[in-house]
């Protein structure tokens, strides 16, 4: 069964550094997402992406965050200047259609900011 793949599985970075988290969504999916889960807390929506543009973003997704689909397969999340509170599991997801279509998640990237 096709799956969403994320790299790296674990990223350690120093506060203030830039990080790029990478995702390869399922190939025939059209909608792409980033979610995150801080340890012990809920899975939180960050951003959705469709037709090469952001369709919705949460309050968490401030100017320090950006997303890009640089080619036909990759979907990236960039954090420009990491903060300690950015430490979390970051999940990429994709879906075939919009509302009502289940999201398929990758196994996540654990980001640790020191």
């Amino acid at each position: 069964e096709p799956e969403v793949t994320q790299t790296p599985s674990h990223q350690v970075t120093q506060m203030g550094q830039e990080v790029i988290l990478r995702c390869v969504p399922i190939s025939n999916h059209l909608y792409f997402y980033w979610y995150r889960q801080i340890l012990g807390q809920k899975v939180e929506f960050l951003v959705s992406f469709y037709n090469n543009e952001i369709s919705e973003k949460s309050e968490i997704f401030d100017d320090q965050f950006s997303v890009e689909r640089p080619d036909g397969s990759n979907f990236t999340l960039k954090i420009r200047s990491t903060k300690l509170e950015d430490s979390a599991m970051y999940f990429c997801a994709s879906s075939v259609r919009g509302v009502g279509s289940p999201l398929h998640f990758g196994n996540g990237t654990r980001l640790t900011v020191t």
């Binding site: 899975v43 997801a93 289940p102 398929h104 196994n107």
Partner: protein, 114 residues
């Protein structure tokens, strides 16, 4: 943000018995509901969904019930198996959500004892 609540952080069930996981939501604009299962070090895996025009959806051992008047959703697993031990999240879509944002509950950890 308490729009979606799972009031039981954990549930322990004997193998072969029924597991009932509950979820409450506050916004009547939600109209599509999903359950996800999550194992440690993996992303959420889609289990089953239901739209607001139905009150029950069944898939093998998993049945989801929706009570719109009570704004309550439940997942029944019968019979429960040790491999079902995981964290279960309910998630909801808004019906006017152009960005296809899922809102997750806080999760319930299910332990199925052999």
């Amino acid at each position: 943000d308490q729009q979606v609540k799972q009031n039981s952080p954990s549930l322990s069930v004997q193998e072969g018995r029924i597991s009932i996981l509950n979820c409450d939501y506050t916004n009547s604009m939600f109209d599509y509901f999903l359950w996800y299962k999550k194992y440690p070090a993996e992303g959420p895996t889609f289990l089953i969904s239901i739209s607001s025009i139905k009150d029950k959806n069944e898939d093998g051992r998993f049945t989801v019930f929706l009570n719109k008047s009570a704004k309550h959703l439940s997942l029944h697993i019968v019979p429960s198996q040790p491999g079902d031990s995981a964290v279960y999240f309910c998630a909801v879509y808004r019906n006017n959500n152009a960005g296809n944002m899922l809102t997750f509950g806080g999760g319930t950890r299910l332990m199925v004892k052999p």
